[in-house]
């Protein structure tokens, strides 16, 4: 009985601290309607000795979508909106397009990526077990373990770090591949330009 009580106390304490953590992270995040900046990605893929490096710029517009434009080692654009995913390589003419109306899982994937890049802990905690800590005066660090079967098929775990913004994302895939993405020069302006608005409207 005593052990049961102790267990109950531990459980209560954990949930309390988990929700404290979420409140803490939420209060430290700026959660802007628009976020743009540079990214640098280091991807480790089976079959490749060295990590694959790429860099470019991104734009995240709340409720609209994500523009992910690689500049190096080659130029390519990726547009993810509520309705579709399209990718295009500037040289060579390679392109592909997925329509959310024909592939409904895309909408769920979309929602997940938005939550990830904007640090939406409430949305993330419906699909992941969220653990972590607050760092210093305004930093935080989270470890996500998927509880959703579909995500668990793809990801072993995800690590997020940030302060007012998400600064670093580390994705561990079940296949053993992993990606470390760092964000720099984060800003809430300028608003999307004409081409960007057009791409987000697709």
């Amino acid at each position: 009985m005593k052990r049961l009580l102790a267990l109950a106390c531990v459980l209560l304490y954990t949930t309390a601290s988990a929700s404290e953590l979420l409140t803490g992270v939420r209060s430290r995040l700026a959660d802007p309607p628009l976020l743009r900046g540079q990214f640098e990605q280091k991807k480790t893929v089976a079959g490749f000795k060295k990590p694959l490096l790429s860099r470019g710029e991104f734009l995240l517009s709340r409720g609209k979508g994500l523009l992910w434009d690689t500049r190096a080692p080659f130029a390519a654009t990726l547009t993810l909106t509520r309705k579709s995913l399209s990718a295009e390589q500037k040289t060579g003419g390679a392109a592909y397009h997925l329509d959310a109306s024909r592939e409904p899982a895309l909408a769920a994937m979309n929602e997940f990526l938005f939550a990830l890049l904007s640090g939406d802990v409430d949305s993330l905690s419906t699909r992941f077990r969220v653990e972590g800590e607050l760092v210093g005066a305004d930093g935080w660090r989270l470890t996500l373990t998927p509880t959703d079967a579909g995500l668990a098929r793809v990801f072993r775990g995800i690590r997020l770090e940030g302060d007012r913004f998400v600064r670093q994302v580390q994705l561990e895939e079940t296949s053993g591949d992993s990606s470390l993405i760092q964000f720099t020069q984060l800003a809430q302006t300028p608003p999307p330009g004409a081409t960007e608005t057009e791409r987000l409207g697709k």
Binding site: F48, P73, L78, M109
Partner: protein, 764 residues
Amino acid sequence: MGNRLAIVWALLVLAVGVHQVRFWRSARLETDILALLPEDEQAPQVGAATRKLADESGRQLVLLVGAPDWESAQRAAEAATEALSQAGAPLEPARVDATALDAAVEFYRPYRDRLLTPAQRAWLASATPEELGGTALMKLYQPAGARLTDWSDDPLGLWPDWWAARAAENEARPRDGRLWLSGEGREWVLLTWQSQVSAFALGDDAKVTAAVERARAAVAAIPGGRLVAAGVPLYAEAAASQASREISTIGLGSLVAVLLLVWLTFRSLRPIVLVGVSLMIGCAVALSVTALLFDRVHLLTLVFGASLVGVAEDYGFHYFAARQGKPAAERGRVMRFLLPGMLLALLTSVVAYLALGLAPFPGLRQMAVFAAAGLVGAFLTVLCWFPTFDLGDLPVTAFAERVSASLSRWPRITSEKRWWPAMAGLLVVSAGGLWRLETRDDLRQLQGAPANLLEDQRELGRLLGLPSPAQLFLVEGEDEEQVLQREVSLKQRLDALVADGVLTGYRAVSDWLPPASQQRADAELSARAEQRAVAAVAAATGEEPSRARFANDVLTPARFLSSPAAPAIRQQWLGPLGSKQYSVLMLRGLEGPAVLARLAAAAHGLEGVRWVDKTEEISRLMGRYRRLMGGLIVAGYLAVLVMLLARFKREAWRAWVPSALGTLLTLAFFGWVGEPLQLFTVLGLLLLLGMGVDYGIFLLEHPGDGSAWVAVALAGVSTLLSFGLLGLSATPALRTFGLAMLLGEVSIWILTPCFRMPPGKDIT
């Protein structure tokens, strides 16, 4: 002699009784209307296909719980789940195997290189090396994606698309640990449950339906909440409660009427008990014989069989009507005196009932056997037991006297001029009605399911994008490979129709198991394209990536069918039937009957591909048998006339004309009120031939005998009532049958005494 007969019959009745007890203990009743449908005469494989598809879903209950947004849809699903799992409901959630998909992915992994969608095949064949290389690089550098394999196993990222195409065969998608779909203004959660019991006993209290209704109420409490449910258990319960309601209405209704008439006429307990016993034994014999001859007794047989009560009482009535007012010692002679007429009447009725069984509908054969056996049982009870047990006096009652005397006041049609206008009028009315008579042959005549069940079923099929169970392609081949190849040729034509919006898609075994020839061609195609892509990536990254190796041999049917991937499609693989192999290709999202002709045309010129429109085929079959049975009625009338001529010589027409005229008047009535002529109407008229003639026979056998008229009058009233009550059935087929019988009986009953012999004249 009489006593020995009584003992033999008592032993038989005892055996029937024992059988009845055993039958009801393990009631094997059939509710599925498919069981009433005929075997396809041209292609028994179609029957096999339909049965296999139906068997798969026997216990399943599919529910969609919807609400305007995903949050409340999930809450609604929880409320529904709670209601369904309440104590007392014989339901359990269907086992959802979360590892099944992973197992299927693992199974297919060595064959990944030869699983391509048509779009991928076209792209791989036409893409430039730059395009291939660029695509591979882009996918390689993408932050993260829903990859199912290592990069080297699928450098162009083709496989997720192939799986997406397989998943598109069903609208539901996993979301937050549930199956989700979006449609018609709501977000929906898909729930699958199954009934824990497969068989059911008649008079069961519809527990599954009650549980679903509880869930429906719980969901309705959530704003905008809606529950749609379908499944065989719901139909079975609806059919059972409907049948038990109708059996008690028809059976008890006519039983009460019969016993009331017996009491009014004879004012004695003995006739009531004996007639009641003859009816009970008749029904028991009917049920036992049916259960012995058929694997399962269908509920509709019992509903139809309940009308037997009003027919089988005839023999008892005749006996007591003739026996009334005579001393008990004469009862043996009364029986011998009645026997020829009763035998002839029994014979015509049994022949008429058995003629129903000529149509190749298993359900009709059951009803025919049931009725014929019931009549014989009741007749033998009258013959063997009545003289033995009917002791004591039976004075003529005032009521019987009055009925008996009414015969002499009944109008008698003669060749006098005053009858001519009436006859001419009758002919004009009949001809006009016949002129207006329409025909309809529709499978839905057999469907008595409540409208809300059918509506739910349609909505569910629409939302889930379920394939149509009634329209499909049957593919035949010498071996498995040929079946799969023929499917591929058919699919090429169907893809064009999908692009035109004629249908939304199809489900084919060859999508999951491509023919060996295509596997080889696709493996070669993907190998060439992917080697180029890998080379381009190697050049761009300065590394030496390689493409993985895949299985050397093709994926064989035997291997596929025993794999964890097979359950998704196994029901469509019929395998060997006779010397050939068969599969079924199913269609999704057929919009209305207008598109069926285009689909039928898709099979033209494709060897081994057969378009099956079950609804159409059965309707055509029903039409054919409606005409055939119509011809049989005409032939039957001629045969009966010959039979009557043999016994009654020049007076035979007096027994024959009322039935013929009654049939014509019934048809005319159907014409005037716009009720279409259906197979089941014709079957009713066939039965009418056998029973209507009986009255004429009795009146001719015993002309001027008031007691024969008493029997005919009472028998007519009770028969009328039985079939009139059958006309209340919710099953359209039984309703039209009852209506035809009711109208025909009334007119024959009124007409027969009009054609009686002139007073004082005798047949001999």
